[in-house]
Structure formats: C-alpha cells, structure tokens
C-alpha cells in the first residue's frame, strides 16, 4: 500500500501539468442554465457519494489493519444490533431526500417546453440528422464531414475529428428554442453535452425538449443511441450566434434555396457535375461504397465496374432515388436535391473503372421525382 502511494505520487510529479490538462475527465459545465444546474447537481451528488465512500471504506480499512489475526486480534462474537440497523437505515433515507429535492426541481424545469420562440424539428436518419426550422421554410441534412482518409488513418486527424458536419444547426442565443425529435428509421438520440439536451428520436413518435443558449460558440455532440453500423459517425454540431447574425443567416438560406431551384433548369456541364458529385459521394455514399467505389461485399456492393453503374441509366436513377427495399440502400430522393442526385450519379458513372461518358442532368432527376 505504501509503495503504491509512493508510485502514484511519483507519477503525479513526473506528468507535466499541461499534459493532464488535455485529458477531459468531467462533465462540461455547459452554456445553458439547465446544463449548469445539472452540473451542480452532478457535483453535489458526487461529493456526497465520495463522503459516503470515505466513511464506509474508512471503517472497513481501519478494521482490516487493526482486527487481523496476525496482530493477535480476538474475534468478538456479537452478531447484530437492532439499534445500529435502524440508524444505518435512517441516515441513507435522509441523504436520499436531500438529493431528491434539487433533482426534482431541475427535472420539472427541464420538462417546461411551453412558450418557445423558435421550433426546430430534428429527424434522425441512418446516419445523419435532418433539421427543419418550423415556420421558416428552411430544412437541410447535416452529415459527418470528416474525410474517410482520416478515419482510415491515411492522413492526420484534425482537432474536430468525428465531431464536424457539413451543415451545422444554427441557433440564436438568448431565445427559448423548442426541439421536436423524431426519426425516419431506427431510434437515434440527439445529444449536445454543452446544452444538456439528450432525447431519443423515435420513428412514429415526437419527443420534446428545449434550450436557451447563453453564449455564442460551436457546440459539438453525437448520436447517443445505437442506430446501426455508422452510429459512431453521426455527430451533432450547433452553431450559436447572436440574434442579428441568425436573422441574416435565415435570409441567406432563403436566397440560396431560390438559387438552387433555378439551377435545376440550368444547363449543367460534365465538369461541374463531377465536382459537385465528388463532394456528395464523399458525404453520403463513401461510408458504405467506399472512397474508390470498391464497396464492402457482400453487404455493400462495389460501384466500380458494377452492372448498375455501367448499365441502364433509368435503373441507376431509380435505385438512388427510391432506395432498395430490404437492404441498407436508402431512398435518397427525399434526402438530396435533384442537382445533388444528378451530380452523384454522373460521378458514379464516370469515376474509377467506370467510363460511360453519361451525363445525368438535374432536369432528368426532377422528372423522375415528379412522376
């Protein structure tokens, strides 16, 4: 025991302080009143538990050191005491009541979703999030933007490895924001530790939660409920901005949406489609079909040299737009824009070993979706 303590002490001295500082080891205090309440509750309960542990283990180890046979201890023969039993039943009850009171207060506050300023519908998909700003006609998907090469250790990992997305959820500070959670497929859970919001997103049901962010910044979290293969790869990123910035962001989104609608009708060249397609492929397809289109047979077929990517264009479009029943292939018609689908199909038909020269235009896709 003495050697062990000495060992721990040496380790503590040797370890540079700066190295220890990077080891995150406690719950974040967070940037909402709720998260700060929860942090306070967590620390209070933790200290109570430490105190209980010190008392119980203290008595026990004192006894272990003093009441040993090797020290000539004679065993007493008492085997019970009603008074002692009553005391150590009552004391925990009192401690538990002390814990329950602040916990109940915080919980009641967390359940008060009334009178929100902004409502956001959050839908879980395998494996990305969909955000819809209710009443604003803005909605978009948010998927992992960490390159596959970083995941497969081919390049250095960036500081936000696995906690970065293409489109962050932008929210204003100092507004009561109500979240409505649901899912398109399996159960997911939306979680941002700094907001202390975690709620299951359940297919066919809607859950509620709320937040009011006190500080601008970027807050990162992850899906918390096992939702299949890429459960570990669907992060949540919240960008908290001032109200003025939020308003201008809204305007920008609306303008971008109009531009996108117009772009469906525009004439698209091969180069443009290939560039856009590469980005779309990387975000949506590469996790299963892999960066070089080689797939992971037998579950995820290769696209490079595949009968579908080299065959009938209409069938290729049909699979991407409507998915394939009974497999992991989702229906992207609901998830991607016509431009994106056109671009990614063009990309798939003209990359790796595939050299069809086919150009699929957004207008082609739009006509399939409209029918």
């Amino acid at each position: 025991m003495r050697y062990f303590l000495r060992f721990v002490l040496i380790i503590l001295i040797i370890c540079p302080r700066s190295a220890l500082a990077t080891w995150a080891f406690n719950m974040p205090v967070g940037v909402t009143n709720t998260s700060q309440d929860i942090y306070g509750l967590h620390m209070t309960i933790f200290y109570i538990c430490v105190a209980i542990a010190i008392v119980v283990f203290g008595v026990m180890f004192w006894s272990i050191f003093h009441h040993r046979k090797s020290k000539g201890a004679q065993a007493a023969q008492f085997h019970g005491s009603v008074l002692v039993e009553i005391i150590w039943t009552i004391i925990p009850i009192v401690i538990l009541v002390v814990m329950a009171i602040p916990a109940t207060k915080t919980l009641i506050d967390m359940y008060d979703t009334a009178e929100s300023d902004i409502d956001i519908q959050i839908t879980g998909y395998q494996w990305k999030w969909h955000y819809k700003y209710i009443g604003e006609d803005i909605d978009f998907f948010s998927s992992l933007s960490t390159p596959q090469d970083e995941i497969h250790n081919k390049t250095t990992k960036n500081p936000n490895y696995l906690l970065e997305v293409d489109n962050a959820l932008v929210l204003p500070i100092n507004k009561k924001i109500r979240f409505l959670f649901t899912s398109n497929d399996v159960i997911h859970a939306w979680w941002v530790p700094d907001l202390a919001v975690k709620k299951d997103a359940i297919p066919g049901f809607i859950n509620e939660s709320w937040t009011r962010i006190n500080k601008t910044g970027t807050y990162r979290g992850q899906c918390a409920e096992l939702c299949g293969m890429h459960h570990g790869f669907m992060p949540v990123v919240v960008q908290a901005v001032t109200e003025a910035e939020y308003e201008s962001w809204l305007q920008q989104q609306k303008t971008a949406k109009l531009a996108e609608l117009a772009s469906v009708q525009k004439e698209w060249g091969m180069d443009e489609l290939m560039t856009t397609g590469a980005i779309v492929y990387q975000t949506n397809c590469a996790a299963c079909h892999q960066a070089k289109g080689q797939g992971m047979p037998p579950i995820f077929p290769a696209l490079s040299g595949s009968a579908i990517a080299l065959g009938d264009v209409a069938e290729h479009i049909n699979i991407v737009v409507n998915g394939r029943q009974g497999t992991a292939m989702a229906a992207y018609g609901k998830q991607l824009s016509a431009v994106e689908i056109a671009a990614v199909i063009t990309y798939e038909r003209n990359s790796w070993d595939n050299k069809t020269g086919d150009i699929v235009t957004p207008a082609d896709i739009q006509s399939v979706i409209d029918n």
Binding site: N153, N160, I187, D200, I202, A224
Partner: protein
Amino acid sequence: MYEQTETADHHGPAKGLMRWVLTTNHKDIGTLYLIFSLIMFFIGGTMAFVIRAELFQPGLQLVMPEFFNQMTTMHGLIMIFGAVMPAFVGLANWQIPLMIGAPDMALPRLNNWSFWILPFAFSMLLYTLFMEGGAPNFGWTAYAPLSTTYAPPSVTFFIFAVHMMGISSIMGAINVIVTIFNMRAPGMGLMQMPMFVWTWLITAFLLIAVMPVLAAVVTMMLMDIHFGTSFFNAAGGGDPVLYQHVFWFFAHPEVYIMVLPAFGVVSQIIPAFSRKPLFGYTSMVYATAAIAIMSFVVWAHHMFTVGMPLAGELFFMYSTMLIAIPTGVKIFNWVGTMFKGSMTFETPMLFSVAFIVLFTIGGLSGIMLAIAPADFQYQDTYFVVAHFHYVLVPGSVFGIFAAVYYWLPKWCGRMYNEPMGQLHFWLSIIGVNLTFFPMHFVGLAGMPRRIPDYALQFADFNMVTSIGAFLFGATQLLFVYNVIKTIRSGEKAQQKPWEGAEGLEWTVPSPAPYHTFTRPPAGS
C-alpha cells in the same frame, strides 16, 4: 454428525464420456456448468479483446464498424447468459445440497436437461458469427426497430437461442426452489439457512418471474419479423418504446439475478475469514428480499431520455433511489461483520473484500445515475458502461472467483496454490480498475457507448482502458492454470481447510464423495 459409511454400497460415477452426458448427479452437473461458464468467459473475453484493441487508438484499424457492433452485442450476451448466470447455477448445484444437507437436487433429470440445453443454445448463437449478414449487431438490449425491421437475418437464431437459455434458466430455478423448500436437513428452518442458500432462493424466484417476460418480448420480435405483426412498428400502430418497457421489466431484475448469489457468496466468506458470525443475518435476508421486490418497479430508469411523462420520470427516480437503502444495509452489515473480527486474508477473502469496495463504487455511481436530470447527461455514455462493469466484473465475477477459491478444496480435495491465487487477485484488481475507472472520465466528458471510433479528446483514457483490459484478460489464464494445477497435483486439503468456516459442507470429507448426505445429517 454425518458419517461416511455407506459409500461402499453405492456405485461411483460411470466411466467415460457418457458419465457427463447422462449424469444426474448434482456435483457432476455443477462441474459441467462451471466448465461451460469458464469457456464462455474466455469467448466473451476474446470479444472484449477485439473491442478494446479497436478502441486502443482513434481511427478504424482492425475491424469495420459492422463487425464491431457484432462484437459488443455478442460480448454482452455471452458474458451475461453464458458466463455469469451458468457459473452461479454451477455453484448452486454444487453447494446448495451440501449446505442444506440434501443428497442431491430435488429434480435430477430436469437438472441434466437444463444444463445440456445450454451448449446447443450457445453453439447456435456463436454460429451466427459465420452467417451471411453477420451475427446480431443491435446491442444485447436489442432495441426495436433496429433489432426487427433493420436486423440481419441471424436475429431469428438469436431469438431461438434466447428461448433455449430461458428454458434452461427457468428449469434450473424451479429445481433450486423445490430443493430448498423440501430437502433441508431436519431442524434447519428457513431462517437457519446459510446466506448463499437464501440469496439463491430469492434469485430463483426472480428468474421464474422474469425469464418468461424475456421470452415474450423476443417472441414479439419474432412475430414482427416473420408474421406481419406490428408490436414495435409505429407505421402499423405499434410502439418501439413498448419493446424497451417489456425488455427492461426483464432486464432490471436480471441485474439482481447476476449479483444476489454473489452477495450470498460474500456473506459466507466474510464471516469465515473474520472468524465472527455474520452481522445482522435477519436484516440481510430482508434486505435481499427487499432488493428483489423493488427490482420490479425501477425498470424505466434505463429509459430516462426516451420521452416519458414527468410523473413517470419522478416515480422511477424515487424508486431507484430507494433501492440504495437495502443495498446499503448489506454493505454496512459486511463491514459490521469484519469489525472486531480476527481476520486473515487468503484469496477468497481478498476477492470478497475487493467485491465490497468495488461493488460499492458501482453502487454509488448507480445513485448518480438514478438522479434523472443528471442522467440526461450520463445516459448511453461510457459512464454507464463503467457503472455496470463495476457491479458485474468486480461484483459478480469476483464473487464467482471468491466462491471457486473458497470451495475448490471441498470439490477436488486439494488446496490451490495460495501465492498464485493472491497474484491472480492483485493483477485482477489492478487490471479491473485500470480498465473501468477511466471509463467514468470519458463518459462524463461525452463519449457515447457502442462506437467503434471516437474523437481525439478521448484518446488517452481509452488507451489506458485498453491496456488495463489486456492485463485483466491475460491474468485470467493464471486462474485457469491454478485451478487445473490444483485438480491435478494440489496438496491434499483437509475436511475443513478454513479455520473459521461454518456449515454442513465442511462436515463431509474432502473431496466430497460422489454421494453425500444419503442419510440426513442430525439436527443442527
């Protein structure tokens, strides 16, 4: 006093392999259960090794996410249903008749059958690893619809295997109850039974109550998958959350099924090595019963983020906190037993003391998890993984080790190697804490469970955890070596190798003859 006069008239064990296939002897069946659970412990441990090797560093190195999910699922299923539960049934088979002075279990043929179902159930479960689409990959909790609509085809084999395990457990439990109620030695009233027998009696009632619930919920899955029902499919009028309610109604008592017999083991060993009677026997019995009864009304504390109404959250928070009271009573009683004793620290005692300390740590993090608002931050993180491994590994598994070291001299008539046993203990306790303590930190810092890859700020603690896990895993080979060496060439054990041990099992010779208590022992 028991006398060993009639063995000569009785036949000994049959020869060859058929002895083990056809046996109805409680000692043989106990041995079979223990060997089976040891094999499963190593198979489940190998899966844990794969998990920890992948998590050694950020990035995907060894396995793909698909296979990683199969490993977490199978590790959980095998450790729970294959390692811990059969080990305790094995201990029950060996010890309950010896401790209550019965010649055998009450239903010997049922006993044979309940064991021999298990190898088939687990062969089928393990076989799914080689099926197209892979083994079950939806977590041992098998939440719908991930485990129904989105499951690999092997889910049907998983369901069948679970049914077989359930049948085995229910038959085992019936056998324990019938034996304890009908075959106690003359003069042994219920309140004179050893604590191990008491905890197993209560565990057996829990098993009978909840295994059918598990069977029901997996049958509902089966119907959803193959027969077009929609129990858990919202599109057909069902509710995915129903699955979780029914599942946890089974799985919360299941947690106590895995730990109550360990309570019993520790309640035998602490008095023996403190040379002092168990403190508060009556309150121990009532506390165990209270834990078992309360375990039926706390299940939804596993579901605080599922969107329950406020009243539900409050009810399950309060009821869960209440369980701390009887659990606390048990811990205080063990400490009270040690207090003013005359203690020695052989391997069984070391494992029992470690059980009390580390199980208490798991219990205290359990109180933290019970606080519903804080649970919104803990739920589905490594904090939960740390919590339940603290109650299951240094809890249940250390309880099993303690029991094996304590009773092995009685089973095989030879003493294990004490220094090697103590080395096994110290390496295990370092390994366990190195593995599971850092999990608290990464969990609080925001690392979700069941992910094959993680953000960079979790890297350091994950590496520590993996190193601890490799140490813990490798240490268990020492245990196997020690046990085999003991059986082959250990020193001869006395009839009662432990100075302070009490109970009928120490009144028969070591090794315990093939048939014991063919005449009931005289009233105690």
